[in-house]
């Protein structure tokens, strides 16, 4: 048998109760999501979707911050739910996290150095002070920072871009096999964003580190990732190679989404007006028997309302959940 996948999500489901304590309403934030990331090479996989698509919930489940309602996450073949305390610590060392808000992840009372020294202590990365300094220096230079710029400073003295780079440096310092990055650039200005994206790419290309990258920005996904999962209301509607999915979106939702992304080119403006009226109301959905995109889909038929569309491989490395293709 071949090597187990680096990360494998199998029929992952997360249900949240919504409304008051007596409410019976349930929100299926993540609904039967499956995908894998290979272990034979470092890749960047994007979870893309709009607000409420469940992308951050999946990130939190993968990081072990919340438990799935059902389904499983396997890391190098081991089920996350069955890890021992020791196994969990090892997992935390191998899977790093970078979050969206570079302002909220820091304790304002401590200098940023503590971010590094705590990590080094927790994972016992260095045996001497000289070792420790070398590690920190190495990590900083790999994300494009100099020690003079950041060490000995408090978080408020640094820009958002610098803070986000520090989080990446911390992840690199621990030397994980994979990073889970939840919208790491959505609060960073355009002129600095590119640098951070390039750091994530370098981590893949030079350090062999894979990344599960969560974003709502398809242009960023296109730039960065090898594979993509398009999520909508908790379900994975389309997945596969990023280039294939973005160039030839097969699901009507992906088509709508990709067609609506503005391009930084005034010569390629939208041709026609789209209408979204009342349908763009995001309701708290109960269990949906059929396709979650049914109400908004221009091609929806009877079957789409009643039956859950199966996942169909329309071409190699390109899977769609839509009755059109079944």
């Amino acid at each position: 048998m071949s090597e187990p996948a680096l990360l494998e999500l199998k029929d992952l489901v997360k249900v949240y109760p919504v409304g008051g304590i007596f409410s019976r309403k349930r929100l299926r934030a993540v609904d039967n999501v499956s995908f894998t990331m290979p272990s034979d090479r470092a890749t960047i996989a994007t979870l893309a979707g709009e607000s409420g698509s469940g992308k951050s919930t999946i990130a939190r489940i993968v990081l072990g911050l919340i438990k799935p309602t059902s389904g499983e996450v396997r890391y190098k073949g081991r089920n996350l739910a069955e890890l021992s305390r020791k196994g969990r610590l090892a997992y935390n060392k191998e899977v790093g996290a970078v979050f969206q808000d570079p302002y909220g992840t820091y304790n304002p009372f401590y200098k940023v150095d503590r971010i590094f020294s705590k990590a080094i202590k927790k994972f016992k990365l260095a045996s001497s002070d000289a070792d420790r300094d070398k590690l920190i220096l190495h990590a900083l230079s790999n994300v494009g920072l100099t020690p003079e710029e950041v060490l000995g400073r408090y978080p408020h003295q640094l820009s958002g871009g610098q803070r986000q780079r520090i989080m990446l440096a911390r992840a690199l310092l621990i030397g994980p096999s994979m990073i889970v990055a939840d919208e790491p650039v959505s609060m960073i200005d355009a002129s600095l964003r590119a640098g951070i994206l390039n750091v994530v790419r370098d981590l893949r290309d030079k350090h062999g580190m894979s990344c599960l990258f969560i974003t709502h920005d398809l242009s960023v996904a296109r730039y960065l990732s090898d594979s993509i999962v398009i999520l909508y209301r908790g379900r994975a509607l389309e997945r596969g190679s990023t280039d294939l999915v973005i160039e030839k979106p097969a699901h009507p939702y992906s088509q709508l989404l990709i067609g609506s992304v503005p391009l930084p080119d005034p010569k390629k403006r939208w041709k026609e007006r789209i209408e979204l009226d009342a349908k763009d109301l995001l309701e708290v959905a109960g269990p949906v028997a059929g396709c979650v995109f049914y109400e908004r889909c221009p091609q929806a038929g009877e079957k789409c309302l009643k039956e859950m569309p199966p996942s169909v491989e329309v071409e190699h490395d390109h899977v769609v959940s839509c009755h059109q293709y079944s």
């Binding site: 709009e50 990709i258 609506s260 992304v261 930084p264 005034p266 979204l276 763009d280 109301l281």
Partner: protein
């Protein structure tokens, strides 16, 4: 004649550490029926600029100098009563994240009626008659008038706000980050609504947003701001096709596009602290082509041969 002409506008924040020059000598004009984009990154002063135009800045911020001529009248010189006849009525404003400022316990229609009644002497019946066409103008069904804000999605709320800004039939709307925090296809509908209002009603729009792709989508002309100053102004097609200022060039090569996979890179360094901006050109510490003169002498915004305004010593007239 331009509808709005801004000359040498300065808006500063008075702080204990000194004056923060958020808007420092900004000049531009907006033509009738034009969508004029103002782009720049956080902290470049674009929102302060918008508020200063309408005299909505509060202490510690104040307007230090400049003229804001709306249809020939200097808004900065007007008394309160005079300002009332222009602000909202002829020059209205969509503040940042204003869709969260809708009254949660009043129906959309009555909030629009309130906005009308505050400025015009109209019977409620007459004001009510205006609601449906206003909603239609932004692509909302007339039934939305009877709904409460919580019943609307983000995109619908933002469009209701635009309808409210249109309620008094203005000649100019200033929209500050109207698409930020909205989902992509909702963003598209909001931008379309602004473009449609310009087409159908001939209203001018000042679109303030950091989102270059949104600017590319609907703006006619575009101004790029950096550290409190405008560094380049031109037709949107030209600015994107052939950016002239090194900052604009850097910005263009920093944004990824869905259409193509090209290498992007960030601009080295960080924007300056506006308490103590660098001497000379404010971009020079990050500029790849800066020369000695850039460190000493502040470049003026002046027109260059291709019909653009650029503030750079190295762009030849």
């Amino acid at each position: 004649m331009p509808l709005l002409e801004v000359k040498g506008l300065k808006a500063y924040y008075r702080t204990r550490a000194g004056e923060v020059k958020a808007v420092d000598g900004v000049s531009f004009s907006v033509e009738p029926k034009e969508i004029f984009g103002i782009a720049g990154e956080s902290g470049c002063g674009k929102s302060t600029l918008g508020m200063a135009l309408l005299r909505l800045v509060d202490p510690p911020c104040y307007v230090e100098a400049g003229d804001v001529l709306f249809d020939g009248v200097d808004l900065l010189e007007l008394d309160a009563e005079g300002l009332r006849t222009i602000r909202w009525k002829r020059f209205s404003y969509i503040p940042q994240s204003s869709m969260n400022a809708l009254n949660p316990v009043a129906r959309i229609g009555s909030q629009i009626v309130d906005a009308i009644a505050a400025h015009e002497h109209l019977s409620e019946k007459e004001a009510n008659k205006r609601v449906a066409p206003l909603l239609k103008g932004v692509g909302l069904a007339a039934e939305c008038a009877d709904m409460y804000p919580h019943e609307l999605s983000g995109g619908m709320k933002q469009r209701a706000i635009i309808a409210m800004a249109m309620a008094l039939g203005p000649q100019l709307i200033l929209a500050d980050e109207p698409t930020t925090a909205l989902d992509v296809n909702v963003q598209r509908v909001v931008l379309q609504a602004l473009a449609y209002l310009r087409e159908a009603m001939g209203v001018s729009v000042i679109l303030v947003t950091h989102d270059m792709a949104a600017q590319a989508e609907i703006a006619d002309r575009l101004a790029i701001m950096y550290a409190g100053k405008i560094v380049e102004v031109g037709a949107v097609d030209d600015v994107f096709a052939d950016p002239l200022h090194p900052y604009t060039q850097g910005l263009m090569s920093a944004i990824p596009s869905l259409a193509e996979k090209r290498q992007i890179k960030s601009i080295p360094g960080y924007p300056p602290n506006l308490l103590d901006p660098p001497p000379g050109c404010r971009f020079h510490p990050r500029c790849p082509v800066a020369v000695g003169r850039c460190r000493e002498e502040q470049p003026e915004l002046r027109s260059e041969a291709r019909g653009r305004l650029v503030a750079c010593h190295l762009v030849v007239e």
